[in-house]
Amino acid sequence: MDLSLNGTQLMVRKAVRSFAREALEEWAGVLDRESRPLPSELTAEMGRINLWGIQAPREYGGADLDGISYTVAIEELSRVSAAVGLGVTVHNSVCLAPLLKFGTQDQLNRYAHELASGKKIGGFTVTEPQAGSDAASICTTAVRKGDRYIINGQKAFVTNGGTGDIFLVAATLDPKKKARGIAVFIMEKNMPGFEVGKVEDMMGVRGNMVSELYFNNVSVPAENILGRAEDGFRVCMQALDIGRIGIAAQALGIGMAAYEAAAGYAAERRQFGRPIGEFQGVAFKLAEMKTGLDAARLLIYRAAHLKDKGLPYSVESAMCKRYASSVAMEVCREALQVFGGYGYVKDLPVERYFRDAKITEIYEGTSEVMNIIIGNAIMKEFERM
């Protein structure tokens, strides 16, 4: 067992860290304040350095890196901008990854290169206004008409919705069949009847144009079904298994940013004649932060490592997201406390970290839903005994 990063993983960390610091940092606050996306030159540069195809094979223009390198990259981006980290992880892990896993050769030819190079940005949408945690209760319908399907319905909270081009869309072929009636379609924004609705005004990750999507009689060729029809729910769940590792890495990145800011401030800020970090009440907060972040990191690496080895990792993925997201929240809460009043004002980024952290406990399955997954696995294991 070796718990240290290898040479490639270390170089990935160095490379993404310097990109994030030198190119993204100046934008992070702007995206948040103005609730606007990155300029397109930066999105393109991210394509050149393979951030839109971190694990995609080289033949599609990806970097073909392992899962641990992936989490390292998402952590480093999210340390500087959680909103950019979100866009990248959703594109890579719940759009491109399932496409690569379940896609036909024809689908790969049509979409993999465009996505992995970042020429097109991807998204993944299951959630609807009335179907959140209960994802199998979606109402967007797909009705077969010859060799095409007609899609009608409404999607909510679509990450990359405002800026993306290609979406994996869950729709039901037969609402009565619930989970067993769901199919996933590869849909393009320029298909007639595909409309972007309201872009959400959010508490955090404001640089991502999370939006509604509307489908009015969108006609999609049958060959755009990802995986087998009626197997869509499984495709979605497997996509989320991959995705949650990325969200956990995003949470870790936000937490790291808050922790490092707090530790630096504690060493500098003096009260009662000493740096505040010399007071046990503050140092203990930092100790808890560091311990929690390290534990989260190890859970994330473990899940990514199992995935790399082709072993089951669904529960481990849920556990790392469950844990890393609450650590991020806790770390941001305490980091803000260390900054006192200066943490509460918008001159410093700590309040942004605090607002950004919360979403990691919600999307790609809430913490409660993570506990349902973990709890079910526990009961399955013990009922067998």
């Binding site: 490639t8 170089m11 990935v12 490379a15 993404v16 393979n50 223009g61 970097a63 890196l65 990259a73």
Partner: protein, 263 residues
């Protein structure tokens, strides 16, 4: 096609390292090793020359076996060939002994049309190596390169030197020394990182480059470190009162006093 050699040094990230004030040395465990920042600018110059006129880039590093990491990074940026000059007999070399070894390795692995070094390394900050290579190899050195253009066997260089702006034309081979003002290092592509660890690294020992043992390492190094001290650069703040003209006059007066404004 041009052949370019760049010198790459692995250094502790001194910006984050802790110093042991008693021994005057860097606590190596406290900092990651990185490629010396100026050397990345040297590499960037080589890469942009290759982008425009085509070139084959060799990266040469002298250091312990761990310095391979620096060469893998150079390979990820695009170096075509990587050479590690590694021998326990080089240990403790100062800048002069290092330059002797590098020069011998350059002769052994060359010839090269351009040799590009970083201006200085952040661990020793002597800035000697470029000049010493020039002296040993009898190849001219040009610094402070602002812009350049290669035409056949000639290179036209625009350089900013103090208050002077020069445009010079030099024939190859030439040594260039490059620092962080001279270009902006491109970001690494993740796909290039993924394959860089497969790069073959040629290793050269003292026996391969020749020379006597007493020319290298501690015995070949005339430098003696007498004392190491921590410097605190303190800035003092002063506010100037009065109207705009008075303030401007006061500033000009101070700038002249410190020799910053001379006219």
């Amino acid at each position: 096609m041009l052949s370019i050699l760049i010198c790459v040094k692995q250094v502790p990230d001194t910006g984050r390292a802790l110093f042991d004030l008693k021994t005057g040395s860097i606590d190596r465990a406290s900092a990651e090793n990185i490629v010396n920042p100026d050397d990345l600018h040297a590499l960037e110059t080589a890469l942009s020359i290759r982008d425009t006129v085509g070139a084959r880039i060799t990266a040469l590093s002298m250091g312990p076996p761990g310095a391979r990491e620096a060469l893998y990074e150079a390979a990820a940026y695009g170096a075509d060939r990587c050479v590690l000059l590694c021998d326990p007999r080089f240990a403790g070399s100062d800048s002069l002994a290092t330059s002797r070894a590098l020069a011998a390795a350059i002769i052994k692995t060359g010839p090269f049309d351009l040799i590009i070094t970083g201006r200085e390394a952040i661990d020793g900050s002597t800035g000697h190596v470029g000049y010493q290579l020039s002296e040993i190899l009898k190849i001219p050195l040009v610094t402070r390169i602002h812009a350049y253009n290669i035409e056949g066997r000639y290179i036209t260089i625009e350089r900013l030197y103090g208050h002077e702006y020069q445009k010079i034309r030099a024939s190859l081979p030439l040594i260039l020394s490059v620092g962080r003002e001279d270009n902006r290092v491109r970001f690494l592509r993740l796909a290039d990182i993924a394959v860089s660890s497969n790069t073959a690294i040629e290793e050269l020992s003292m026996d391969d480059i020749g020379g006597r043992e007493d020319e290298y390492g501690i015995t070949g190094s005339p430098t003696v470190v007498v004392d190491t001290r921590k410097f605190n650069h303190t800035r003092s703040r002063e506010s100037i009162e009065g109207g705009a003209t008075e303030k401007a006059r006061a500033i000009v007066q101070r700038l002249k006093k410190h020799g910053i404004l001379q006219y």
